[in-house]
Amino acid sequence: MSDGDYIRRNWDRHPPALTPNYKTSVARSPRFPLISLQSTASERTGPTFGHSDIAPGDNDLIHNFAAPGAAAIGERIILHGRVLDENGRPVPHTLVEIWQANAGGRYRHKKDTYFAAMDPNFGGAGRTLTDDTGAYAFRTIKPGAYPWPNRGNDWRPAHIHISVFGQAFLQRLITQCYFEGDPLIPLCPIVRTIPDPQAIDDLTARLDMKNTIPLDTIAYHFDIILRGRRSTPFENRPEGG
């Protein structure tokens, strides 16, 4: 099987630029349509990362900012899954970065003025590389829900921001994963920027009892799907050739 060009993005899966119930999008959304390009080398390549770029403990948010012997406060969770392409092929050795609020719903950021307490032992960022099978795993705490001013009384469901590279700049993706059973998910204006209910459901991490560490850490499973490539085995075989 040869690798052809990348499959065009299915825009029905993604939020449009202009989503008035998420007010900040109104002034930050291009009004003209995107210009569709046949991808070139600039889009079919992208940055690569290796183990020299990161440290082994970077994917443990319970400890990666904590004082020696201390740990972050909150419900201890494993967030894990695989990075696959649209053809189901693993995306190995790609960088996955996450960031999140602490267990009280507060970010470590000077612009977050929510009065939930800071946790001195929680930074809120982690990163890892997928393995040969595209698998990734983080240990962290379950973030808290928090209010935001959008429409006066909007609340973000508990969520973790995820950034993934893939093997091409056109695969670059930032998303957010939510947690199964959270009643705030269907109320959230940012979730609801996505028009496709299935695409929203696909952003929900599933409770994964099989991978729970008994008496220690509960597990959630979340797969990330990046754009795939066409298979073009007949490309160079014209009819009768």
């Binding site: 993604h14 939020p15 960031w99 809120g124 921001h161 950034s163 695409a199 799907i225």
Partner: protein, 197 residues
Amino acid sequence: MDDLKETASQTAGPYVLIGLAPWAAGFKIYDHELGHDIAGPNAAGERIRVQGCVMDGMNSPIRDVLMEVWQANANGHFAHPEGGGSVEDGFRGWGRVVPDFETGEWSFESINPGSTGDGHAPHISLWLVARGINIGLHTRMYFADEATANAKDAVLNKIEWENRRATLIAGRHDGELPTYRFDIRLQGDGETVFFDV
């Protein structure tokens, strides 16, 4: 073969720096942060600075944007297995750029990229995410002093409205370091061209 669907994008939100540039968010969590050095010390080609500002539809600077840069080296090769050839040791061609918190002005240093082939003028790819941007925006910066190559560039020529092509061309000012100015307008007069790649 499985038939899976791409994960939906969600905005990077107001706290994207915590995850992707914690030094800029004001704290140190990693020994080695990524995206600070685009060209590395060994790259051939002219050293340049690129600076600009990202503006919203009300012409206000967006101070919480994060941009990623992706470019070829002076020979038109990318640091990638399908990148067309080898690159200098330490050349990544990739970096992260965040603006000044007060002014929204950003800048980065790199080298002038080479052409990747006939019909491809030298350019730098940029990807923008921020609060209020629901899916990352792809654009390209071209160089005003490459007018001949720009006129033959397949991507620029794909833009039907000739006056919009100018939104992708950065002017050059010579100084201690040659500096290109590239302002990006998300909306309104002179809206920058963004691509579905």
